[in-house]
């Protein structure tokens, strides 16, 4: 099959072959030929109101499904507006493909109108990027881009396409294979190492599974659950790994790290074996690295060899895809269970007792007040309505941490947040992507009063496409997370964190043609949330919460994770 078509049509053909059903974008001068080809094309184009949100929406699509999200933007300002989203996807290993227009090949390098060196600018913002100088390379490049984005350790890939390449006519022949000789994907894991890992896991007296975003990227939740149940190991899931093991699973302890639970951080500190699965020993998890898990041997399984040994040198490294490695590991564990399974039974029972004890001493429990809505109360109510089943897209700040602590996720891909980059303005647009990908799902966008105002333009997109997203603004009147640090570490000198002049949400939502409401008394909270969920369309609920609440536990920057501040400053006495 070979027929003459424009570069723009060829691109669309390739996108269809990649299974792209919708893309998030914003047009401009050099992408006119592409948008012309899109006219009446079956691929759905979602017009966002700012390109940054096209990238975040593509991430929301990818994070909620595992399929590659696609965004597109014009040259120059369109492309530069994508940058935050690209880095966000890079940090959290999210598969997205960005298509950007570029000035015509003859004009490249001439400071032409809306020319920017997109290829240069996005080099360090992507897993890989391409500049297509010839229409003949286009099909190959597009399929390479999708393969790179979704395989191995996923990530963002950008393809920069000059206007004349969109316009050029060429014979289109579907690509039958792609070849990236230097791109190595390690999948299987070393059989001997896997067997040794199984032995170490039975030998441990205080094992702890430390599961991260890699479990979700690999789609290995089921396998993780089997592993956890096989050896009855307590399990902590990182901010990126929440839902990797159901929050209601009896072996799930909670989230570790800077705002992790007391039990999770104490378990990390006292474990004699860390089974680290799809994690990268991020500083927000480990605290002071030299004091992190000091008694533990480490088994580290990750698909990216550069992560293994980067921050913590493992005693047993396994480079491979968790989806392939965990079944083998489980098989080895099952095989050894007969001979090794009961050797440390009483130590392990003590270990569980210790963990239950830590959980009871300082549970992650919501707090309530009769007069004001506590942020934790809000999250507990959202949790009640979600029942572990809703998609929750969070922005960045205190609300994000309370949501992560208090909302349960019974499945992977329900908790969507900007982990590695911590990009404010992520919550609302990612919810747009998630709702497009999962029209069947109840989608909450939990945002702060700061981050919400970074995504305001997308209210139009939500209405435009009739997305029934429930936008919950946790309104504390401050850039709360920054205010918390100023209170705790800068003598409460509150510098540039007050968010006055927040708009009236009834009028704001009303101006866009949907329903908004502000509440501030605890009694109003449950019915207002129920009303929001019942509403067939979008809903904007502005929840005024106690302004000076801080997120605890908290590990101060540079501290060891067992040196948590559990409540307004008073360090915890440590069991030695």
């Amino acid at each position: 099959m070979s027929n003459l078509m424009s570069g723009a049509r060829i691109l669309l053909e390739c996108l269809i072959r990649e299974g792209v059903d919708c893309l998030f974008g914003y047009p401009g001068g050099v992408t006119l030929p592409f948008y012309d080809a899109l006219y009446e094309h079956p691929i759905r184009h979602v017009l966002v109101r700012h390109e940054q949100n096209a990238a975040f929406a593509a991430e929301g699509y990818a994070r909620s499904t595992g399929r590659t999200g696609v965004c597109c933007a014009t040259s120059g300002p369109g492309a530069t507006n994508l940058v935050t989203g690209l880095v966000d996807a890079l940090m959290d290993s999210i598969p997205i493909v960005a298509i950007t227009g570029q000035v015509s090949t003859k004009l490249i390098g001439s400071d032409a109108f809306q020319e920017a060196d997109t290829f240069g600018i996005t080099r360090s913002c992507t897993k890989h990027n391409f500049l297509v100088k010839n229409v003949a390379e286009l099909p190959q490049t597009i399929h390479e881009a999708f393969y790179l984005a979704s395989s191995g350790r996923p990530g963002p890939v950008l393809v920069d396409i000059p206007k004349d390449v969109f316009q050029a006519q060429a014979h289109y022949t579907p690509v039958t294979s792609i070849h990236l000789p230097g791109y190595k994907v390690y999948t299987e894991g070393h059989t001997g190492q896997i067997r040794r890992a199984a032995q170490m896991m039975w030998e441990a007296k205080k094992p702890l599974v430390y599961a991260g975003g890699g479990i979700i990227a690999a789609g290995a939740s089921q396998e993780l659950q089997e592993l956890v149940e096989l050896i009855d190991a307590p399990t902590v899931c990182t901010l990126m790994g929440l839902g990797g093991l159901s929050s209601s699973h009896p072996n799930f302890v909670s989230m570790p790290g800077m705002h992790g639970s007391y039990a999770a951080n104490m378990a990390m500190t006292h474990a004699d074996l860390l089974i680290a699965l799809g994690v990268r020993f991020d500083d927000r998890v480990t605290g002071r690295l030299s004091a992190f898990a000091p008694h533990a041997k480490v088994i580290h399984v990750d698909i990216d060899p550069a992560e293994v040994g980067k921050n913590r040198v493992p005693d047993l490294p396994i480079v491979g895809d968790l989806k392939r490695v965990l079944p083998k590991l489980n098989a080895a564990l099952a095989e050894l269970k007969h001979s090794m399974g009961s050797q440390n039974a009483s130590d392990r029972a003590d270990w569980w007792r210790q963990i239950r004890c830590w959980q009871q001493e300082h549970p992650l429990a919501p707090s309530y007040s009769a007069t004001e809505i506590k942020p934790q109360h809000l999250m507990a109510e959202i949790d009640r309505l979600s029942g572990g089943e809703a998609i929750v897209c969070s922005d960045v700040g205190q609300h994000q941490m309370w949501a992560a602590q208090l909302i349960r996720f019974h499945h992977p891909r329900l908790w969507i947040n900007s982990g590695g980059l911590g990009s404010m303005g992520f919550g609302l647009p990612s919810a747009i992507g998630a709702q497009f990908a999962r029209p069947d799902k109840l989608v909450f966008a939990i945002v702060g009063d700061g981050g919400f105002q970074m995504s305001l333009p997308e209210l139009a997109t939500i209405v435009n496409y009739g997305l029934p997203i429930k936008i919950i603004v946790m309104n504390n009147g401050y850039l709360g997370m920054v205010r918390q640090w100023q209170e705790l570490f800068y003598n409460n000198r509150l510098s540039a964190v007050t968010l006055d002049s927040f708009p009236n949400v009834e009028m704001l939502a009303g101006a866009y043609g949907f329903k908004g409401r502000t509440i501030e008394s605890p009694a109003e909270l449950p019915p207002a949330l129920e009303e929001a969920v019942r509403e067939p369309g979008p809903y904007l609920l502005n929840v005024k919460v106690s302004p000076y609440e801080n997120v605890y536990p908290m590990v101060p920057a540079g501290g060891a994770i067992n040196e948590m501040v559990l409540a307004p400053p008073q360090p915890v006495a440590l069991p030695k």
């Binding site: 990027n129 500049l131 000789p181 791109y183």
Partner: protein
């Protein structure tokens, strides 16, 4: 500490930028960098000398191996390898010094590539320390001008080059629902 890295990479626009960008993003200073085509014109061989803390050397190699355009990154710092540098040097040589300069050049196995009444242009290759000495000696004859190539290195061990095979592109029939305009079919 200086690390010597040998890279085999695809000869593609931007490939060099990816390698140097990786180093500059981590604040490492590149001492020297050479790159040229290999027997296969689609590939380039690059030698980089870069200032990296010893405990981070492995990480740098891993990161380089992750670059899509890099087929192989090898740490030659402590490996068995030959390392050579080339220098082109212009020295002013009045009548009374000419024989002495030629003598010195011979000792260092350097070659005169251009000669004039004012002086010589000399080419020398060797390991970098030897060339440092050569340059010092020439300097004693007066003003000189120097261009160095930077190190080129070759491993003396046989290293297996592991390349990923082509991947067949799957069947598109499953995506007919998109053509029919059905979202999330």
């Amino acid at each position: 500490m200086l690390q010597v890295i040998s890279l085999l990479l695809e000869n593609k626009p931007g490939a060099l930028m990816r390698v140097t960008g990786l180093l500059s993003a981590r604040g490492y200073n590149i001492e020297s960098l050479t790159v040229a085509r290999t027997l296969d014109p689609e590939l380039s061989r690059m030698t980089i000398v870069v200032d990296v803390e010893p405990n981070l050397r492995k990480q740098v190699i891993k990161q380089m191996n992750k670059l899509v355009n890099v087929l192989q990154a090898t740490d030659l710092t402590d490996a068995s390898a030959v390392c050579r540098d080339m220098v082109l040097l212009r020295v002013r040589a009045p009548q009374e010094n000419r024989t002495a300069i030629l003598k010195e050049a011979e000792i260092f196995s350097a070659r005169v590539v251009e000669s004039s009444l004012e002086g010589f242009a000399i080419e020398a290759t060797g390991d970098p320390e030897k060339l440092d000495e050569f340059i010092a000696v020439m300097r004693s004859y007066g003003e000189i001008e120097v261009t160095r190539s930077g190190m080129v290195a070759m491993s003396l061990e046989n290293r297996k080059l592991r390349l990923s095979p082509p991947i067949p592109k799957g069947d598109e029939a499953v995506y007919s629902h998109i053509r029919n305009g059905v979202l999330n079919g």
